[in-house]
């Protein structure tokens, strides 16, 4: 019967020798034989076992579960895989939660940027500092309303003035007919 060295096995499965030695040490895959100089030798059956290990690894099962699976009847496979599926679903759910949190944070940041509000008080204080008095400000609203009524509305909304007050401001900004 043909036997394989650890190097041949490593190449065949694209694994490192140390991984195979580790598998040996934890009992997942013990080589069936040893050479005269005590090198590990793997049989055809070992290779078949390795095929299964690779298959199970690709589903993300832990080595513990794999070991258990290799020892028990193959009918346990579906229940083990179901368990793995359950774990994957949990992971996905967790990731989705994280995704939601991240999106919320990003949305809030954008929103915050948009509404870095200049409040009415801020406006008034700056206009005053620039030398505009009460009548000057009134005048400003009148001109604003005359030249760009929509922008006037938009502007008043943006500095957080209530609907009623906006209506009132725009009302006295319009020339009496």
């Amino acid at each position: 019967m043909q036997m394989f060295t650890i190097g041949q096995l490593a190449r065949r499965y694209s694994l490192s020798r140390s991984t195979l030695i580790y598998y040996d040490s934890i009992g997942v895959l013990k080589p069936s034989g040893r050479s005269e100089s005590n090198y590990r030798l793997y049989s055809e059956d070992d290779l078949k076992k390795m095929d299964r290990i690779q298959l199970y690894r690709s589903t993300g099962l832990s080595l513990d579960s794999i070991e258990l699976l290799l020892k028990t009847q193959s009918s346990d496979l579906s229940s083990t895989l179901e368990g793995r599926l359950f774990a994957i679903n949990n992971e996905i759910e967790k990731l989705r939660d994280q995704q939601t949190v991240i999106l919320k944070i990003l949305e809030n940041e954008i929103l915050e940027k948009k509404t870095r509000v200049i409040t009415k008080d801020v406006w008034v204080s700056i206009l005053r500092a620039a030398g505009l008095d009460e009548s000057g400000m009134k005048n400003w609203h009148v001109e604003f309303e005359k030249n760009s009524p929509d922008a006037h509305q938009d502007f008043l909304e943006s500095i957080g003035i209530e609907k009623n007050e906006i209506a009132a401001i725009r009302e006295w900004s319009r020339p009496a007919i």
């Binding site: 870095r116 509000v117 620039a130 030398g131 604003f144 938009d154």
Partner: protein
């Protein structure tokens, strides 16, 4: 806040019409920048002024 109706030119015109001269407008920007730098930035953005010009105005 969407803003299609207002731009820098209209805003300047508005200030001119109520009798604010160039010097007052510059003073106004300086006040704005000193007191409320973030508000100044978002106001200039609201006027659809480009990034480089905003920087220029804020460092006047």
């Amino acid at each position: 806040m969407n803003n299609e109706a207002m731009n820098k030119e209209k805003w300047v015109l508005l200030f001119k019409e109520i009798g604010l001269d160039e010097a007052t407008m510059i003073r106004w920007h300086k006040e704005f920048e000193t007191r409320y730098p973030e508000g100044h930035q978002s106001f200039l953005e609201w006027l659809n002024i480009g990034e480089s010009e905003i920087r220029q105005i804020r460092t006047m």
